[in-house]
Symmetry: none
């Protein structure tokens, strides 16, 4: 089965945004075993959009459109697809009701008249409820093919694709693709690839695909099989071998588990609480932990100590330490971590201090970051020299902080 | 003049990489005043690539191809374009010499035989020397149109485009596009559009385009003109009228200024410091402020008080307030904000408490968020009911927190 993407939006043609939806959708289609030969971007223009839809529908089985489902005059995807596929628009009571509910539960006031356009649905279309916005997704089936219309904002598109489109496509695709995720932290992508080279070179079924994330590498092991049991049987030995090669660097094999979720799971398992003491990451590490539903069981408070004075006052870092070694030093991060435990009564504290840039400080280079973890009267400190801009340095520091905490828990508890 | 992009690479179709080249090239073309109506991605397949080139050449004046100029069998862009535009390949001595030089100055050793393919140039083509790799860029002119072939790696493509392609295109394009950004916070997208409907309906030059972000709407006003001065003159009255209609909801007209940058700019201007007291946002608000280089001047510390105990201990919130009204209440956020100022000696404190979900708490609905800002002995409190998942609720809360701080500063200082 072949799939094709059409991204709709003048902001993409103008270069105002990076088309991350296309990458997401392409990777998902690849994971589902769909072949993709074309991707297209068109603007908010009916004639050109209609042309793109006709062309794509002529050559692919599944055409996925993203964007242009909003309430404004510019948003033409629904109307244009309805016209090209000859499925006239009609009002959908269910969607109307959902829009009414959406506005009732928000502070956005009156429903603007143009929002009702979003309740017009092509005759016979499958409606995909949008849990994070007002524009429903739509599946238009015709001549054994289908067009899948998705809203443009990634926080609407991604959940809709994962909850509603994947199950739909899996039903259409006769051979099953069963996959298993293996998530690795603390090992670089090229290192992971070279460690797996023999497996990757020899692969036919299952296959291994690698995806690099900030500070992480995700491996998707995918098997083609007639049924789930056969798929599982094909996957098991490969996943076991990967686990053997990477040991505790594998932090999860659960599809939906993020690094912070794995950390919170471990904290809960060993009944530990944690606090954070952040300088250059300025709250990002705490925010990642609080990202996890139910984090309140293990995380009660965090400290953002950006200035030296705050480090002294909130974490009791010694004035002389700051003076002698500087705020970005092994000594300071150590005192931040122990001070955080003391100030919060938590079982552990992760501390981060570094130079995020753009300017270097204390004669130290941009990207230099110290991370400390205090747990059970022991403090582990790691020094990193990250590459990239301010945001990227901080993101990497957060991942390394979470991973250090994870390794400290495993080391002191999982024996 | 119209331009069109063709990105060549199976890795894009598979979703292995984000197509950042397309964004870069699109933004560059927009800046040069070229109109872009289509972008296409095709894989390393001669037939489909030839089809894409033919289609693009049929409808655009400038076709920019990126990728597929490498030395391997997969790399077909040069050969395919030569065939489609009927400009037969011939060896180019100058490029041969450059490849020889490139290898001589590197540690890569012997020149692999297939590298010589890169020295084959379509008859009559303009060769663009590659300062960062072996594949030269090529401009193929035909029938008043042109195809511009660029190497895929961004560190080769970007310098080549800026040094060689921009001057070439500027010679071809007589008219300039000048644009001005207007960023609005606290007004929904459809409200913004309906307020501007008369301007948008009447627009010819300049034009207004709207882009929705989380909690924000960005407007781009674009004029076509013979020179920058004329462009500015066309933009000025439109931007002034937008400012008149939205007042202080316009937080910036600077292209690169984010909401947090605008807030930090105002804090610096009025010599104020700020702290944060966060519950459901768990450090995200502090992290957004620390995002801004130089934030240390105005932000010294922040509190993440996720548990009630932490709210009491760090911010001195009354036990009875928490008991009587709950942690998610007007009363608690008020005490968090005043407590934050007191605990930190900052001039202002933004406090956030809410139910991010997935589960409701204290019999209060998911998405209910109170935001408070204490400044100069006055506390402003706002109540919101946000939609969406945990992450989206928190992102919206952060934007509203930054915006409340901004409005409080303007109200108390800008008079």
């Amino acid at each position: 089965m072949t799939a094709e993407l059409i991204s709709v939006g003048t902001e993409i043609l103008m270069g105002n945004i990076v088309n991350t939806n296309a990458q997401y959708l392409a990777a998902q289609c690849a994971g589902l075993g769909l072949s993709m030969y074309h991707q297209t971007v068109v603007g908010d223009n009916e004639e050109r959009l209609a042309g793109a839809v006709r062309t794509a529908f002529g050559r692919a089985d599944v055409v996925i459109l993203s964007g242009g489902l909003g309430p404004t005059e510019d948003d033409l995807t629904r109307e244009t697809c309805a016209k090209v596929l000859e499925m006239p628009l009609e009002p959908d009571e269910h969607t109307k009701e959902r829009i009414r509910e959406y506005f009732k539960n928000s502070t956005m006031g009156e429903i603007p008249g143009n929002n009702w356009r979003q309740a017009m649905v092509p005759h016979g279309a499958i409606v995909l409820d949008n849990e994070n916005g007002t524009a429903p997704g739509l599946i238009l089936e015709k001549d054994g093919k289908c067009a899948i219309l998705l809203p443009g904002p990634p926080n609407e598109l991604i959940p809709m694709f994962e909850e509603k489109v994947i199950p739909y496509l899996q039903r259409k695709q006769p051979e099953l693709l069963i996959s298993q995720m293996v998530k690795i932290c603390g090992v670089g992508e090229s290192k992971v690839e070279s460690e797996l080279l023999d497996l990757i070179d020899a692969q036919t079924n299952p296959t291994i695909a690698t995806y690099a994330k900030v500070g992480e590498v995700h491996l998707r092991v995918t098997a083609r099989a007639a049924n789930p049991e056969e798929g599982e049987k094909l996957l098991r030995p490969v996943v076991k071998e990967i686990r053997r090669r990477f040991g505790t660097a594998v932090y999860t094999t659960r599809e939906d588990e993020t690094l912070e979720m794995a950390v919170v799971r471990l904290l809960k398992k060993y009944e530990l609480t944690v606090t954070t003491a952040e300088s250059c990451t300025g709250g990002m590490l705490a925010a990642r932990i609080v990202n996890v539903p139910g984090a309140s069981e293990v995380f009660r408070q965090g400290f953002v100590t950006y200035s030296n004075k705050a480090k002294r006052r909130l974490l009791d870092v010694n004035k002389s330490t700051l003076k002698k070694y500087g705020a970005v030093s092994k000594e300071t991060v150590k005192e931040m971590a122990t001070g955080g435990v003391f100030a919060s009564d938590a079982d552990a504290c992760v501390a981060v201090t570094g130079i995020a840039g753009p300017d270097s400080e204390e004669d130290k280079p941009v990207g230099l970051v110290y991370i400390g973890c205090c747990m059970k009267d022991k403090v582990e400190v790691e020094k990193y020299q990250f590459k990239g801009n301010r945001q990227k340095v901080r993101e990497q520091a957060v991942v390394k902080g979470l991973d250090l905490l994870r390794r400290c828990i495993l080391e002191s508890c999982a024996k």
